[in-house]
Each structure stands twice: as C-alpha cells, then as structure tokens.
C-alpha cells in the first residue's frame, strides 16, 4: 500500500491557468507538508499543516492555497500559473511534530507551465 500518494504524477498546463494537486497519506500522521523541488534539485518547504491547521507558510505567493479537508489529505491549489512555477511538488507527512521524525514523501507531481 502506498503510504503517501499524490495525483496527478504529471501536469502540463498553460500560463494563467488554475490547477490543483492532491495528496493523501494512510499512515495516520498528524503533520503534512508541501515542498517544491526546482530544476537544480533544491527542495524547499512551502507549507506545513498539523491536524488540518496551517502552521507554516514559508513566504509562498498567495496564488498558492493549500487546503486540508481532514488530517489524511492536503491539497494544493495554484491560481494564475506562471512559468516559474514549473517544478516537482512533493507532499510529505510525519508522525510527530519534531524535526527528527521521519518525513515520508510522496512520489512527486511534475508541473510544467508553458
């Protein structure tokens, strides 16, 4: 069984469009994250949710809006897509609040904005 799953795996879209990426974890974790990995493989935190509540927003443009309908799901909606949004987006979850806890990553969503 997949621990952290994301859909879609690939997303190709035009500039200006709005798109969503979905994430689900079946690990029973309370904390979920969205990361962005750029073309140089740099992995940067975007958001962190704990038990459906936003706890970290790392100065991400407000075109990005995460939503957590329940603690097993964390979706990412992006409005007015720009070329610079092209990247791989990873969802992750942890069982505890501490930073020594294992982060379980999803397989990633490769977003290409044309």
């Amino acid at each position: 069984d997949t621990a952290v799953s994301q859909t879609p795996k690939y997303l190709v879209t035009q500039m200006g469009n709005d798109k969503s990426i979905k994430c689900e974890q079946n690990l029973g974790h309370d904390t979920m994250y969205w990361y962005k990995q750029d073309s140089k493989k740099f992995l940067k935190i975007m958001f962190s949710y704990n038990n459906k509540e936003l706890i970290i927003n790392e100065t991400v443009p407000n075109r990005f809006s995460p939503k957590s309908p329940d603690k097993a799901h964390l979706n990412l909606h992006i409005n007015s897509l720009e070329l610079g949004d092209s990247a791989v987006y990873f969802c992750a979850s942890t069982g505890g609040p501490g930073l020594t806890d294992t982060q379980y990553f999803g397989p990633g969503t490769r977003l290409t904005v044309l």
């Binding site: 952290v4 493989k41 740099f42 970290i56 992750a92 020594t100 397989p107 990633g108």
Partner: protein
C-alpha cells in the same frame, strides 16, 4: 547563500569503488538527516544523527555527524549500481520549525 553546502554536486564512479559525500554548514544543527532520492520518486530517509561525533552504519553506508554538529559525511563502501541516486542532507536548527535541505549530491554508479 546556501545554509547547507553539499559536495561534490555530481559523482560518477564504477561499481566497487568507495566514496564520501559531505554536508557542511557554518551553523549548528540539533540533528541532521540523510535522504536518498531515486529518479521519479520522493526522498527516502536513510538515517538521523543527533549527537556530535555520532557514527551510524547502514550496511555499506557510514554516516558521521561532526563534533561541533555543523557538518556530516556519508561514506559508501564498495558502491553498487543500486546506490545510484540523489543524496540529500537536511538539518534541523534550534528555534526553527522546518528542515533545511542541501542541494544534494547526484551519484551515478556504473556496472
């Protein structure tokens, strides 16, 4: 300026060779993690080190946390093609609620 500098950026070796990759910083970290990311997949945790000077072994992989907790190294003995991937270090700092990732070392092991 990158908080965690990883070196080398790329490493291409033959099966059976030994290698060491480094993760360095001028900041002190309360803990440091190493992840491996294979193409098309998310990173997978290999190890967490929390004590200065700590050494952990995972089969042919040896991880060390520097005495001052500012750096770490990953040594692989007798590398195999299955070791191919992007190795990322990630550190946690006191007073910060997120991990900081390095840019990674891309390792290619050829048969």
């Amino acid at each position: 300026t990158q908080l965690l500098e990883q070196s080398p950026q790329f490493l291409s070796i033959q099966e059976g060779e030994n290698l060491t990759v480094y993760c360095n910083s001028s900041s002190v970290f309360s803990s440091l993690q190493w992840y491996r990311q294979e193409p098309g997949e998310g990173p997978v945790l290999l190890v967490t080190v929390v004590t200065g000077g700590e050494v952990k072994k995972l089969k042919r992989l040896t991880f060390q946390f520097g005495d001052a907790r500012k750096d770490s190294s990953l040594h692989i003995t007798a590398a195999q093609p299955g070791d191919t991937g992007l190795y990322l270090c990630a550190g946690a700092r006191s007073g910060y609620s997120t991990l900081t990732f390095g840019k990674g070392t891309m390792l290619l092991v050829s048969p």
